[in-house]
Every structure is written in C-alpha cells, then in structure tokens.
Symmetry: D2
Subunit: 313 residues, 4 copies
C-alpha cells in the first residue's frame, strides 16, 4: 500500500522544487517579534511513510516554532491521562469562527468547542497541569514530544515563550473567561504559562514528521514498538484534525487536501495519511485564516499525486 520509496522521493522533490520559487506566499505572522524575523522564503517538506522511508526536501533541518501544532501532542497526552473525561471540559465540534474568538464561550458556558482553538487548547493544558507544578507539567509535555519524535534534542524557544506571555492578552482573556465558568481549575497564570511554553517548542520539519508517525500507524511508535495511544483514539484525533485543525479554514483544507492536519502560525503543518504516512511542511507565509499558504498547496499536490485523500483515490 505504500508508494515505492523512489516515487515518494520524486514527488516530494518535485513539489518542493516547484513551490520554493513561488512568490504568492502570504504574510509572515508578526504579532511577536520572534515570529516576524523568520526568513519568509524558507520551505521544507518531509514525509515519513509507515515502512520507515523518509523523503525530505528544502530546509528540513531548520528549527521553527511549531505553535498550535503542539495542540495535537497535548491533546494526545491529556487523553492518555484522563480518557474520555476530557470531553467534559472541551467539545469536539468545529467552531465556525475565527481562531481566538471569545463569543462562543459566552453561548456555551465556558466550554470551548474543540481542543484545537486556543480556548480549547488552554483547557487541555489545564487538564495536564492538574496536580503538578507548571515546571513539571511542561517537562512532561516536552518529554512526550521527544519520545514521539525519538529525538531528545527538542527544546522550547524561551524568547518566543516570553514574548507570547508578554503580549498574550487575548489568551489571558480566554483563560480568565473559562475560569469564571469553572472550566479552568488551576491558577490562570500557571495554565497560561504552560500553554505559552508548549506553543514555543521549536522543531524541524524532519522532527515533526517523525513525531506524527503514531497518528499514521494506529497509535504506535514504530521505533520503540510501544503504543502511544489506543488505535481507536489515534483515529479519533485524526478526525478532530480533519474537522477542526485549520481554524476557520478547516473545511477548505478538508475539501482541497483531504487529509487530517494541524497548522501553526509559525507556518508549519503536520498532516496524516492514515495507514500511509506522516507529513510535515513548513513555509512561514500565512493566508487570511492563519494557515501556511504554500504549505497547504504542497499538501494538496502531494495528496493528489499519490492518491492519498481519505475521501477517495
């Protein structure tokens, strides 16, 4: 069922070659200086298939801020800790609103719509934090991401975290709002501190594609053979990525690419071809919905070329 490695290599290389020269790249996120100073022409595409083949092109070993992609890893960790009780604190429906809108919290008594909008990811972070000090919770998240990627060098970019913390007033509003409904259990500043730090994890496209393998392989880590999450839960995380992974552009991504995916404002996207491959792409320019413009095009081309859409070959 996997593509022969040479064909995969060729697809990745040709798509990267074509996209690296395109100039319609969108705008780099600039709300904090650390994100604004990234090279807008950077581009990387890495595919790791379930046979272990790795196809990489572009700046595959350059670190970037994974931002909201970390929400996939914290969701996985939180489900592992509390199981389905998690869904008492966060919903599973697409939000139909810009990514950090506070409106629906008003209608839905402080319960965020899903774990991939900011409010939902803050609630998930609060679940991981419970019973721990912020430093411990952060350590646990980081160890988990290193385990998934099988790479102990992965670290948090402290300058990014500090900058988010200084300017993250909307997230502070969301957290305080949820706290007023009792949805956040820990002190708001603790929960936000852990949240800002895990969004500031820096990874390369190669590391990110490695970290996503468990979603392509029914929940298990191929290097260690260990189960990361129950296969049914891996499927369900994929379903959430498909319906909610790209803010208000989630329907468009499903429509065009046909793969579960999660984007971050650092310009990265982690996508999954279930049973086939884990895919990471990075291009810092964003579209109006906050998703990497070239990243989405790369994934659309890859999915089409290899027949990987989950909606039909």
């Amino acid at each position: 069922m996997n593509q022969p490695a040479p064909e995969l290599d060729r697809a990745v290389k040709e798509i990267a070659d074509e996209l690296r020269v395109r100039t319609d790249r969108g705008e780099v996120a600039s709300y904090i200086p650390e994100l604004a100073k990234v090279d807008p022409s950077a581009f990387a595409l890495v595919v790791v298939d379930t046979a272990g083949n790795v196809a990489a092109a572009g700046d595959a070993d350059t670190l970037f801020s994974i931002q909201s992609i970390s929400k996939v890893f914290t969701l996985t960790l939180a489900i592992g800790k509390v199981g389905n009780r998690l869904w008492q604190r966060v919903g599973r429906e697409p939000s139909g609103s810009p990514f950090n809108s506070i409106i629906q919290l008003e209608f839905e008594k402080g319960i965020p719509r899903n774990p991939f909008i900011n409010a939902g990811a803050i609630a998930v972070t609060d679940v991981i934090l419970s019973g721990h000090q912020p430093r411990e919770a952060l350590g646990e998240i980081l160890r988990f991401v290193r385990f998934l990627a099988d790479d102990s060098s992965i670290a948090i970019d402290k300058a990014v975290a500090a900058s988010e913390q200084r300017t993250g007033f909307r997230n502070a509003a969301l957290a305080n709002y949820m706290k007023s409904f009792g949805v956040i259990e820990n002190p708001v500043e603790h929960t936000l501190g852990v949240y800002f730090h895990h969004c500031a994890i820096a990874m390369t496209c190669r590391q990110l594609a490695m970290a996503g393998r468990y979603l392509a392989q029914f929940g298990s880590n191929p290097t260690t053979g260990l189960s990361v999450v129950h296969p049914e839960r891996a499927r369900r995380i994929n379903a959430l990525m498909l319906t909610c992974g790209h803010y208000d552009g989630s329907g468009e991504f499903a429509y065009r690419v046909g793969l579960p995916g999660k984007s971050g404002v650092g310009g990265g996207i982690l996508a999954v071809a279930p049973g086939k491959a884990s895919i990471a792409v990075w291009s810092p320019g964003l579209d109006a919905s906050g998703n990497s413009r070239l990243g989405q095009i790369a994934l659309e081309q890859l999915s089409k070329r290899l027949g990987w859409s989950i909606f039909g070959a």
Copy 2:
C-alpha cells in the same frame, strides 16, 4: 479490498438485530404532522459495496422522507451545472451553530457557510432553478435522483411538501434574508417551493444506498458506467459531508463513525466508505442535534467492525 459478501451480510444482519430491540431511540421529528406519524420503531440498514453486493436488513423497502439528504443530490447537480462558480454563493466551512441559525448570515453578508445547512441548500436550489420554471427545476432534480438510484419509481410526497410550505417560516426568513443581500436570484417563493419539494422526496433505504454509489466509486454510476461527477468532485463532496453533514453534530459523527455522511430529520443517513461502499440507514428517532440516534450507532458499529473508518483501520 471489499469484504467478502457473506461477511458483509453477517455484519449488517447482526447490527440490525441488535439495534432493532433498543429503546433509547430519541424523539421523532414532529414539526409537521406528516413526519410525526411515522412508526418510531422502524429500522433499516442497507450497504451496497463497489462490487455490486447488496446487504439489507430491516424495513429496507419502506419509503421515508429523505429531507436534508436531498442536499447531497442537489449539491452534486449544481456543481455539475456551474462548477466552482457555486462557491461564490455558498461557503465550505462547518457552521458551528444549530442547523437553521440565521446569525451567521448577518456576519457573512448573506453567504451561507456550507451547502448542507438549510440556508446553503436554499442557495444551491436557487442556482439549479436559475433560467427555469420551478416545475422544470424540480423535474430535473427528480430525474437526477432516479438516475442515481437507477429507479424511475422515486417520487415526491406532496403532502409533506405542502406541509413544509405551510409551516416553513424559518426557511422563508433565511431565503428572504439572503435575497436582501442579493444571494438569491429567483423570486423567493419559487426557490422555496423547489426546496420544500426536493426535501420531500420519499425513498427506501435500498434506493438511497443505490443513489449514493457514485460517491463511493469516484463519481461514476456503476449501472450505466456513466460519469455522474468528476472523481475529484466526488472526493470533495465527501469532504463536505464529513465536515458539515450532521448540523452541529458533524464533529461528533466524524469522531465516532469516521465516514462522510448526511442526515435528514426523517431519520435517514446516507454514509460513504470511499472506494468501498455506499450505506443507508433509517431510524426515525433523533438526538438533540437532529440526527438519527440509532442510525449513528449502526454506522459506528459497522465502520468499526469492517475497519472502514477513513481515519485509520
């Protein structure tokens, strides 16, 4: 890749046997008398795989009102007529709101979020109507559904259509609202007339599963061999069904069932296992989101048992 026919038969039969005796069926839609008088204990499940095998259980040959499931067929027809220009009149994002909410029309200048909420389906109907008399447009829709199901006996339940027309004030509000933004081109009463009538098409589960084959088979009608819609468009309709097919329960359906699907308040659901099968289920009791309660459970069990989830076996 298909299941052997005996295994499929057994799965369909066993699931139907288990579900027919369950009593937690939800409430039958009662907003018009014609829907309220359906037998709440009715249940049917039909699977047609891409090899042409048909597995049926329960009241597979009893007619019911397909209601919103007709939106899949009108969407397919409208895309065939105007192609991607359709997306100037309707969006492709999940709505994140109850199924006939008018709020987001206010924010988004009269453009409905997607073709499967009522407002969106009315806009799609308006596209089909353009240049025709209501009677002609309705004839075209009905001929198209008969062609898909390969069954010329399919008809509209006029009592249901008349009843909807007498009581459909929310839909009239939506249509007038869109008209005020110029999104509806035809006289409101014409567009609504066609809309109410195509929602009143009556079909059996067997007919419905037959009609859905083109979505499982890359856009072509296996009986005739004719292309219904370009394979890429079939994929994209599947993507829309997955993200938007169950009103405010779309995320939940994707999470639990893992298949594209579209429900109607008559209690039917049409689901698609791309490349594998078209599936129709019917049980009139609805959950709080307006989707068949047992229908969803049947699909969850079928998907799990046969490993058909698009998010991983």
Copy 3:
C-alpha cells in the same frame, strides 16, 4: 413655563437660517428610488408649544415620507387597543444593534427588543391587524394619524409603499422569523402589507408637529380636548422614544439633544419637550446610524437655546 411666542419664533428662524446653508448633510436614503429622488437641500423646522403657538421655518408645508416615525403612532394605537398585554409581544429595552439586525431575535425567541426597531414595529402592526382585514387596519391607522394632526388630508404615498413591498426582503425575513416563533399571528404578507403602507404615510413638518402634541401634553389632543392616551402612557411612550428612538444612535441623541424623539429614514424627526412643545424637523441627509444629520443638530441647538433638555436646564 412656555417660552414667549416671539422668542420661540426667533429661535426657530435663526436655527433654520444657520442650518439651511450647511453642506455636511449626509447621504439621502437610496434603497428605494422614491426616497432617493427627494431634494437633499430641503429643510424644515416646526415647533408647536402647549399654548398652541406655532413657529415654522423652511419647507414646513412640503410632504415627505415619515417612514419609521409612524411607529410612534402605531405604538400609541396598539397600546390603546390591548394595553399592557402588548409587552408580551415586544420588549422595552434598547437594542444595541443596527436597526434591522436579526440576531437578537434568535437569542430572544422571536420577541423584538422594542417597538421602534423594525421587527418590533412589525409585531405592533400585527397586534393592530388582529381581527381585521389589512385594508381596515390601514384605514384605522390613517384615521388615527389624521385625528392626531387634526388634518384629514393626510394620505399614504402608494408609490413608496409599493416600492417598499417589492424590495423589503429584510423585513420579510424578520416577519417570517417572528412567525416561526409564533410572535406574528396574521399571515405574514398581510402584516407586512400594513407595515409597508403605514411607513409610507406622507406628512409635512407642520402636520407632524401637530400630530405629536399629545406626547407633550400628557396624552390629550388640545384641539378636541379628547384624551388620546392615558397621561402615564404618554410618559412611557416618551421614555421609549428617548431610549430607543434613534436606532443605534439613541444614546447619542439622548446625550446631545436630551429630548425624546423618533427618526425616520425619510429624514424626519419628531421630538417632544414634555409639558412644553412638540417639534418636527426634516432634512433628508442621514448619518451612519440612519438619522437625519441636520435634524439632530437643529434639535440639539433648539434644546440648548431654550433650556428644554429633560436632563437639566
């Protein structure tokens, strides 16, 4: 307590003289051709005090479309018919939203916030209509306005009414929406027909100031000596005009002018200095909230000059 007539005359004349030459007049309403073709330089100001003195300046005897000002008269008529039961169908709170927004109807189960937003005035019209044919209800409204103004020549501009009816899709949306909640009792097209026609009443500023006397004089008609409405109800209509009479500019009008008032998109405003005078002003250019720009300035100057603000001399 009244101003001596010569002082009143001078104030009206001087304010009119100053304003007639101003060029910052705003835009004339253009959503129907009949309103768009009015002379933008028209200006009139008429004050009728409770002693019966009349001070008039400008185009005081030119007819214009009173539009939403008619809502004051239909509210008075409806209260007379059903008393406080009216408040089961419409609220008394400012709306905090643009004048024909449909959003709050969704939150508040189809009950409009107050009788002066379009939805509320349609609900009030429905109350007047109940038990009558549209033609009879319209006759009753027209007779009531003629009685208030003591002028049997007042009539409906049928071209305006017909034009509103052809293009009033937002109002049709509002009416259908309320009907879906059971707030409208009559057939939607009947209620809308009466509504569009009473908004199309044509009056001169002089007639309008005469018609408003009962609000300045504790509910009685000075010509006939007859009670139009109980004094307490006249006070309460004044309170509603102050809090809700200028769409989303009601707070601004209270803040600057300090008098109860009701504006119409035809450029007229009826204002009340309780116990002192009824005031009508007309200038067709509107501000962003849909209120006559020069009309508001004229009233601000008049209120200040004569010490008529209800919030302190």
Copy 4:
C-alpha cells in the same frame, strides 16, 4: 418648583413604610461572601432636594457596598480629566446585553458600549489611572467621592475589594480582552486593582444622596458652591444614566420610573430628578437584571407621587 419639605417627608416616610413589609424582595447577590451576608430586610430611602431639605427613612445610616454606582463618580472624574477625549475609549450607546457580556467587545474592536457596563467602567478607570500609581488613583477617586458627599469618613471596604479581586475572572477577561485591542493602557492588574477597590466603596444612603446632588443641580456642589462639572456635562451624565444605568433593565427603569439612575449589585440605586432632587435607595434583593427590586418600586412610587418623571408630569 421644589415640593414643600413636609410633603416630601411624608412621601418618603409612607413609601418606606409600605415597602419595608413587602416580601417579594428578590435575591441578594451572592457571588462573593461579603455581599451575601448583608441583611436582606434592610431598606433605606433618602431624598435631598435642591433647596437642601433632606428626607430620610429606614436604615439611612447603615453602610453598604455601592458597587457599580461608583461608575457615576469615576465617569465624572474622568470627564473632568480628559474631557471629550474619553469617548475615544468608550461609547455612549445602550448595550442591549447582560451586564458583563463580552460579545460586543468582539464586534466593536474592544471599545465598550458605554461607561456603565463593566467593560466601560474598567476603561474609564484606566483613563483615571494613567500617569499614576494605583494607590494614587484610588486616593484621588476616594477624595472626589468624599468631596461630593461632603463627608471625609467615606472609605473602601477592603474585605469586599479583596474578595472581588480573588474571584473577578470575568472582569479580568474583559480587561485582558480590551488590552488586546489596545484600549487599556496600564498593566491589566493595576487597572483591575483600582476598579475592584472603587466598586468596594461603602456608603450610607444619606451619604449617597448627598454625593449625587451635583447631578440634580447642574453640576455644582451646593455646600461649597464649587462647580464639580460643567452644567452641560452634568446633563449628559444624566442622559447616560437614563439610557444605560440599569444594565439590561435600563429601558424598563426609564419606562417605569422616568428618572436617570444607576444601580449596583449591593442593592443601592442613585437617582436624579434634574433641578429637583438627588435620591438614594437601598434594598439588597435584586431582580433578574441585577437591579434592586424594592429600590426600583420605591423610585417608581416616589416619581409618580411627586410628579418628578422627566417624561411629563
């Protein structure tokens, strides 16, 4: 124009006598323990007319938490400091939403609708704070209230302030949200600290009625003869109190009482009969909109009995 003192005395006494025995008092605010432990049967009514007569009944010298009534004094202070520039940071329109809703901040780019909803009062507090330390700003507010009431004993209830600060997550959400739009200039915790403390000022009904005299007397303090605020501004503050002073019950208060007023969840209301009197009432039980239930009834009776409604005798 003032009532003879004996008549005023009698009215105040009789209204108090009637209301003190009523049992339909509503619920005492309980979101912080300090407010919940107040005696629910407390009742006080004090009127100070512009001739200096004082009529008092009930627990007129018992301290209570003025809560949102402090917003009138901070608004007056802020207008004195920055004049009309204040309106760049806060609007003047009624909000049409529950008192601490965050939704409209989303629509209106972080600008609160008016100075009397929580968000608006926080923005006004931020204006007063600018260029000062929180302690200095708080001192300035307290000195101003003591000056208005001519009573140097007025103080802040520190237990109330501390409790608000510990539990005020919704207000923290509002402040952070406005900060994200740049509407709050100072550190959020500074602005909130000052806000929570000025809401915790404790006053008696007698002190409160004295403090409100400048609004009844065209902006001047009758004891000192000093101008507190320009007469025009006093009028305008009255207008804001009328349209926005009672959260989502402002229209109802204008309709029934016909006087500018501002309520607090401690059960107090400060009302103004322009040119006639300053009125304070206190009864801790609240209605669904958060306004003192008996307090409103007392004011309705007083206004009716003395013919003080600004909408007509």
